[in-house]
Symmetry: C2
Amino acid sequence: MARPTRTTREQFVDVAMRLFWQKGYGATSIADILQAAGANAGSLYYCFPTKQDLLIAVLRRYHAGIHPMLLAPAWDGVEDPIEKIFALLARYREALMATDCTYGCPIGSLALELHEPDPAVRTWLAANFDAWTGAIARCLREARGRLPRGTNLRELASFILTTMEGGVMQARTHRSPATYDAAVRQLRHYLSHLEAAATLTERKSP
Amino acid sequence: MARPTRTTREQFVDVAMRLFWQKGYGATSIADILQAAGANAGSLYYCFPTKQDLLIAVLRRYHAGIHPMLLAPAWDGVEDPIEKIFALLARYREALMATDCTYGCPIGSLALELHEPDPAVRTWLAANFDAWTGAIARCLREARGRLPRGTNLRELASFILTTMEGGVMQARTHRSPATYDAAVRQLRHYLSHLEAAATLTERKSP
């Protein structure tokens, strides 16, 4: 048997990424992966001895892709740090619309599907959430002059992830973007209140 | 074979409810259900010809239990309608703490696990979300004098579900209540801003 090339390994990750997202991790069998990759079992086992090894590779791939694949296209031409947040949320709306509202955030779906994930899997799920909220926290830091002093930016960033994940979950269930739009509008409303409060405090300051 | 009694039927629902929640729907086999119920396949198939029929019975049970099992205990002794909302959110925190942060909302988990749910399943998932947000919307209506005029109460209620679901998802991933607490604090903060804005407008009114 020829030793699988780097490309073979990456192809398995491509295929697994797509299948785990479309069908879920539990519902994707090794046979599904082999069929979709057009590969034999030996070459899969050589690259990924267990399905969980493949899952970790998928989670690492998502993590590596957050900036180039998600944030960079979402933020192309958007300068305002608060608008960057809403531009990112708008990408998730596009994903909902493009999939007839069957879209689920791949990380969020795995986080709930895997009932007792091994520490390595959980670490990579958490690393994905952390990278997302870290990027949002940087936007908030850039905009901190427009937010009330003492605003916990990391906590607010985590709340923005909460909004996206909870909104996607409900849109998917109702097969309608309405609840997602509602969540984003409420978040926008909350941020406007924070900006207004910051302006008010500034005016009161000597 | 004796015709299964109503109790047998309910026992299957009890067992399925627990197993779907603990292991997920996909990972629970018919054999798991039979073993946990100490029943034979004939009696299960008599009550529930397919696993999906059992899932719908579980979702109907959750729906019927929202008031007696979830809201009534959470709201015992709580009069203030806004505090009722936080008392309900506090129940989810208790569930997180009681399970070493492995708790997942059973409805939210199913909503993301089932990648292409049949319309009947989706209807019952949506009905559960609707009953939850409906109860929260009633709290908000009771408190509407404390919120800015024109606040979309149904939308705000759906945002509160978003907060719970997104917060639980992250707490479970990080195996820590910190992100859940952060989400609840941010929501509290948002509601305080709304209450303050309502007071301000009232003062300005003639």
